[in-house]
Point group: C2
Chain length 339, copies 2
């Protein structure tokens, strides 16, 4: 407990490429008092996710950027400390979007009550939250895996990738995961039950991927960008689908990009192979959330869908943990236990 102090992590400056610790600033302020109709929330868990890198840039993105000097955005699990709102009572656990801080006010908008008896509350930030739903909606709506097809996903031990591969298996497809290092590959293969796991750091990565996909690739769930694309792209089958939900590697690159220009070859293959490349953000598919909660919970209870959390203690450690996430240093869904 931090007493009467609200710790907050602010955006200190816009990063160039990979963020540095000095791009963030820790601030301690007095805990605010809720007005009539408001709640005071104590943050229990903060989710760290790759999309946050995009919010640090001034450029156009699918959400407004975080301004310099503002609290970093982020999904959170919080407990109601004081309620002056008719719909909430002290002690309730909520999913909120309170950002990188230890206390926050809310007017009650956009909150979802969590049942601590149903699942560990931190899963509302991972497998039963935005990353799990990104995997579910993107794979099933855009990817549409059919039995016997081959699904490839990178960051396969992470929050999105681990769900993508396991849902692909549930739908009868073959799941090939790409991960960084032998430990993650072993986890993907043995704990998550993927059919193959390829270490993206292996010098012969592209050859290994090809061997693991003897019938080519029908769905490439793109959540990392960068060099993995170049190994995946030649293996795509006719009518392959590429849901694009993240480009971690590219978030940290600065334009202009040196040649050769890969676009003409990509467009030629899009035409020749009737490929679908489709960017998405999970909220586009909000009407599927009830089905998602119901199916995912059932798969988790039945042992068909597993997840791993990488828990970092203390808000002070959030910037370092986030920088590590962008470099693939996390192992599982990265969350910060705030207090």
């Amino acid at each position: 407990m931090s007493g009467s102090i609200n710790k907050r992590v602010l955006l200190a400056r816009r990063p160039e490429g990979l963020p540095k610790p000095s791009d963030f600033r820790l601030e301690e302020v007095t805990i605010p008092a809720p007005k009539e109709g408001e709640l005071l929330l104590r943050i229990l868990f903060l989710s760290l996710d790759p999309y946050m890198r995009g919010r640090m840039d001034a450029g156009e993105s699918y959400a407004a950027p975080v301004e310099i000097g503002e609290v970093m955005d982020g999904g959170t699990v919080a407990e109601v400390v004081v309620s002056r709102h008719k719909d909430f009572v002290k002690g309730e656990i909520l999913l909120s979007y309170s950002g990188w801080q230890s206390y926050a006010l809310s007017d009650g908008q956009g909150l979802r009550k969590l049942d601590p008896a149903a699942a560990p509350v931190s899963t509302a930030l991972g497998v039963l939250g935005m990353p799990g739903f990104t995997a579910y909606a993107g794979l099933l709506t855009i990817g549409r895996p059919k039995p016997g097809e081959t699904v490839v996903v990178a960051a396969a031990s992470g929050a999105v990738g681990s769900a993508v591969g396991q849902i692909a298996k549930i739908k009868g497809a073959r799941a090939v995961g790409i991960a960084g290092g032998l430990a993650k590959c072993a986890f993907v293969l043995e704990n998550l039950g993927f059919d193959a796991a390829i270490d993206r750091r292996a010098p012969d990565f592209a050859r290994r991927l090809k061997e693991a996909c003897p019938k080519g690739i029908d769905i490439y769930f793109e959540n990392v960008g960068g060099a993995v694309w170049d190994a995946v792209f030649p293996l795509l089958n006719d009518f392959a689908r590429i849901p694009v939900c993240g480009l971690i590697a590219d978030y940290n690159m600065s334009a202009p990009f040196p040649g050769p220009d890969r676009l003409p070859v990509v467009m030629d293959q899009v035409l020749t192979k009737s490929l679908t490349i489709r960017g998405f953000i999970q909220r586009e598919f909000a009407d599927q959330r009830p089905a998602f909660y119901s199916e995912m919970s059932q798969w988790i209870r039945g042992g068909r869908l597993r997840y791993r959390e990488d828990v970092v203690d203390g808000l002070d450690n959030a910037p370092d943990a986030f920088i590590g996430l962008l470099q693939g240093r996390n192992f599982g869904k990265l969350v910060v236990r705030v207090l």
Copy 2:
């Protein structure tokens, strides 16, 4: 009439970039005699289409390449001269895929009987044929125009582009056409009824396109590739759809392509704007053909959908006409009147 001689245009060598007349070879052989179960067809019209450039290359494509020394592939309208097949009689007019020659044998497979009273038979190669169906299926199934949306298409006076824009209008969307030169732009605007027509040769082409799309672009029907893409891409709205059916400009380029690499920016925008890029070949949507014939015929009869043919006389002129097509020299759907 060429008497008892069958003229044929063969692929003499695989072109590098834009084909040259010497990549083709004209041959005269004896007209073949049909066996029992076969037909002899006299070709009336040969369709010339951009996809044929792809067939001239050895590389992987969505159809087998034409081999050196073989007759060039192509859709044709033909008359039955001799029938030894129970389903056809002399004098019937058929849609066939007989290639660049004046006579051909057929076993009856893949033929479609045409009604000369319903529409000029050459339209089976254009507005009521493969190009028209490419426009119809690609725009309605992948593009899905909604009233008030902005649809952009290049080669707007051509077989595919002219249908794309007019169908977009019928569906209540705003149609912006890109064409090469003032005459084509005037035709697109005045005869086809597009809302705007932009000359791609204008030095301030990109600025004019932007002015013609004050609400951005919701659908870019990609049938040309090349420089048009660069002007269109920054104008795409969130959730824009890009059906890709052709890349004329790129057919004639040779790899490797100099930098900068445009792919990271394209993928970033695919993600940021939730774009859909989808290659297709019309035969994927074959189940929509009956609806296409019915709707398009009705639109043509009602004066809501117009078309223009660019007719070249004589098979000898097919190579030059085809090279011109790849350079945008045709004005309307290019067909060769064979005999």
